[in-house]
């Protein structure tokens, strides 16, 4: 009971302080909107959010890919993987697979492409693709997911491609992440495709949890 009262008092006090501060908060004065709009033509995409994510502030996104990989390495360090469901011959499940997996993959590709001009992009597409992978995994249809080489290739391709494309402008005498302006569109698309694959595989690997068994590596 004592914990209840103390927790209530602290939480209510926090709510009061936050509510007071936020009501008094002046409207967003920094207005980076105009800055983004003014430079949108140079970014290679027409969706301002994608432009911020993969051009103006792509350093954030690069580090974020690193966080994804680190979280997975952390999860693998904690312990071995649980046993996954085996090959399922359940009719309902097979119908679901046939009906849903192809449109989900198509949907992921669509969201990846449309991210250049409308809401969408690597993260949304990656999350959708992860859905298809989970469906395949729980019916035992994705045994290749456990094969170590492919597994690690897909998990790291996002970070590898992003890092190489981030460093490439330095070789051309420019600075880190300063893509050539005329080709920015293609660079962003390549990074997003690799990022989508890595995001999807990392999410599924985190869902499975734990590192792959040694026996699976030998297979």
């Amino acid at each position: 009971m004592k914990t209840n009262i103390i927790a209530s008092i602290i939480s209510l006090a926090l709510f009061g302080t936050l509510a007071h501060a936020l009501i008094e908060l002046p409207t967003n004065t920094s207005r980076l909107t105009s800055l983004v709009t003014a430079n949108l033509d140079e970014s290679g995409v027409s969706n301002p959010v994608t432009a911020v994510l993969l051009n103006f502030r792509s350093y954030d996104t690069l580090l974020e890919m690193g966080v994804l990989l680190l979280a997975l390495i952390g999860a693998w360090a904690v312990g071995p993987r649980q046993t996954l469901p085996g090959h399922s011959d359940d009719t309902a499940m097979l119908i679901v697979l046939r009906l849903f997996v192809p449109p989900i993959i198509l949907g992921a590709a669509y969201f990846l492409w449309v991210g250049a001009k409308e809401p969408g992009g690597a993260f949304q597409a990656g999350a959708i693709l992860a859905g298809a992978l989970v469906l395949l995994l729980i019916t035992g249809r994705a045994t290749w997911f456990h094969r170590d080489g492919w597994h690690r290739f897909f998990l790291s391709i996002g970070m590898l491609v992003f890092l190489s494309l981030a460093a490439a402008p330095m070789a051309m005498g420019s600075s880190l992440l300063d893509y050539p302006r005329s080709q920015a569109k293609h660079w962003i698309l390549i990074i997003e495709t690799a990022a989508m694959l890595s995001i999807a595989f990392t999410l599924v690997a985190l869902l499975v949890g734990g590192r792959p068994h040694c026996k699976e590596i030998a297979d």
Binding site: L12, L14, L22, I23, T33, E64, A71, V78
Partner: protein, 106 residues
């Protein structure tokens, strides 16, 4: 009241509820849910800040906070996944899901 202020109040409420959940329980999964709720409050706050000011609606949404939320969501999901792996390991080792010493197995 401006709509963005309503969002901000909701964000403050989410943060407070999240904190309450963290303080109130010693069950690690509930604490993790509390942390997620708290984080979602902050995401909602960023979305509210991205709204155009009422006196200049032609400026449109600010894409920078929106991009930050998108990055934040992915990081939060990864941190949650890692935390769940740790919790699973903790349960396997200690046989319980509470942090109190000598608590009954859950």
């Amino acid at each position: 009241m401006e709509l963005s202020k309503v969002y901000m109040l909701a964000a403050a409420a989410l943060v407070a509820i999240g904190l309450f959940a963290i303080l109130r329980t010693n069950h690690v999964v509930r604490q993790l849910l509390g942390i997620n709720l708290l984080g979602n409050g902050i995401f909602l706050l960023l979305i509210a800040i991205a709204q155009a000011p009422a006196d200049a609606p032609e400026e449109g949404l600010d894409p920078v906070p929106q991009a930050m939320v998108l990055t934040g969501i992915v990081v939060a999901v990864c941190a949650t996944g890692f935390a769940l792996t740790l919790i699973e390991r903790y349960r396997a080792v200690s046989g319980c899901l509470t942090v109190k010493e000598g608590a009954d197995a859950d």
